[in-house]
């Protein structure tokens, strides 16, 4: 780098040379990504600020411990590590696509872009599963002296403090029939069978010591989780769309006729940025 700088030093800004030795579009992509980094940074810092203002914050290992097809098994960090590796791998295939573009290798660009798109779609699929699991996975929560079944939404979440055992026992007596039926599902009896039972009968079916009844968690947790991972997911989605457009353009020989595949490089920058943001989302929501 030193040598290039000295060689061009005299004529660097006198025209006929690109001061950053970079194409305009690519430079602007960099500045866009920098501004986007501030947007994500502001979101994550706001999340951190709210988190530091609370006495209690949900433990990520409690919240994110499910794996598709594993039922109620407690597998903290397992699914999110799959998602992380999917993004890392798709980032690698993008690097290979950009490199193939440098070589003017149309077939290589198509092949690697295709795998990048698959990686992006796989990540989005994982995220959809996770959101669905969090929203619909209802857990018993102690609310106003009653047990209610709630999932994680923008309005509330079941990840609060562990409820006082005696308070939870008392609350079970006041809870609705519907809630008790849901709580008794673990007993192995069919839904119809349970639904026909009376409340006291259901209370006998419920294994009270296996229930971890919590209070409602901080409302901000749901909002920040869905807001930030959603915003990131939207970036992944738009990245996939951009990559699909690049793939079609490559197939139609647009870049071949243009003489260069610089467009792939710009799409690649965006895609890597999406991976970069995930590294920080992963840190803030799942690890610490």
């Amino acid at each position: 780098m030193e040598t290039t700088a000295t060689v061009h030093q005299t004529k660097w800004w006198s025209g006929g040379k690109s001061p950053f030795n970079m194409e305009y579009g690519k430079l602007m992509m960099w500045y866009f990504l920098m501004s986007d980094a501030f947007t994500f940074g502001a979101f994550l810092i706001s999340y951190g600020s709210i988190r530091f203002s609370q006495n209690f914050w949900p433990d990520p290992n409690v919240v994110f411990n499910a794996f598709p097809g594993a039922g109620h098994a407690n597998l903290p960090l397992a699914f999110v590590s799959v998602m992380t590796f999917i993004l890392i791998i798709s980032s690698v295939t993008m690097v290979l696509a950009v490199h193939a573009g440098h070589n003017g290798d149309k077939k290589g660009v198509i092949k690697w872009l295709f795998w990048t798109i698959i990686g992006g779609l796989a990540f989005l699929g994982c995220q959809a599963w996770e959101w669905h699991h969090l929203i619909t996975g209802e857990l018993p929560v102690l609310v106003d002296g009653k047990i209610e079944m709630i999932g994680q939404t923008m309005r509330g979440n079941p990840w609060g403090r562990l409820a006082d055992h005696n308070a939870a026992l008392a609350a079970l007596q006041n809870s609705s029939h519907e809630t008790l039926v849901q709580l008794a599902h673990e007993s192995g009896k069919s839904h119809a069978e349970l639904a026909a039972m009376s409340n006291p009968q259901l209370l006998n079916e419920i294994k009270i010591d296996e229930l971890h009844i919590r209070e409602k968690g901080p409302v901000a947790f749901g909002g920040y989780f869905f807001g930030i991972t959603g915003f990131h997911g939207f970036h992944v989605f738009s990245g996939v769309i951009i990559n699909i457009i690049m793939l079609i353009m490559t197939q139609k020989d647009v870049f071949h006729r243009r003489g260069h595949y610089l467009m792939i490089e710009k799409a690649g920058l965006y895609w890597h940025f999406v991976d970069l943001v995930w590294v920080f989302v992963f840190l803030c929501f799942y690890l610490i």
Partner: protein, 151 residues
């Protein structure tokens, strides 16, 4: 390279296939290893939390380690995958220097949130009583006595 967007630009950071492949493979392995270490630390924090006497300091140290590893990952993604490390120094500076704002940004807002919590705990006892995590031991003790009566 003959194919250029403009004669003003000369692509010097185009390496030959072998060097490139080696570099990408090395970075991929590095990123994977860092991620695996991060996950291991995450699980360590989990076991510390589950343990009988969670040490706040130890958890904080592990969390600090994960943050540093994440920054290392970010560095490799940006400098190798995004090729920022191969650009002209002035160009790198126009990206990196504005990002230094984050140092103030993070410290200021985290400190603000923390100070808000402390003030609330001091002046709003209701907030403190309803949100402060209880020691989980006393809550689990009576559970054993109740088991016999219930089943």
């Amino acid at each position: 390279m003959e194919h250029q967007a403009s004669p003003e630009i000369t692509f010097q950071h185009h390496t030959d296939d072998a060097t490139f492949k080696k570099r990408v493979r090395k970075t991929t392995i590095l990123l994977s290893i860092i991620t695996v270490i991060e996950l291991a630390i995450g699980l360590t924090i989990y076991t510390i939390h589950k343990g009988p006497d969670p040490s706040t300091l130890l958890v904080l140290m592990f969390k600090g380690m994960v943050c540093i590893l994440t920054l290392a990952k970010a560095y490799y993604i940006v400098s190798v995958f995004m090729h920022l490390g191969d650009e002209i120094r002035n160009m790198i500076m126009t990206i990196v220097v504005p990002l230094l704002l984050f140092i103030w940004f993070i410290i200021a807002f985290i400190a603000d949130g923390n100070s808000y919590k402390n003030l609330r705990n001091k002046y709003d006892k209701h907030f403190q009583e309803t949100t402060m995590p209880a020691d989980h031991k006393p809550a689990e003790k009576p559970a054993d006595e109740k088991t016999g009566g219930k089943q």
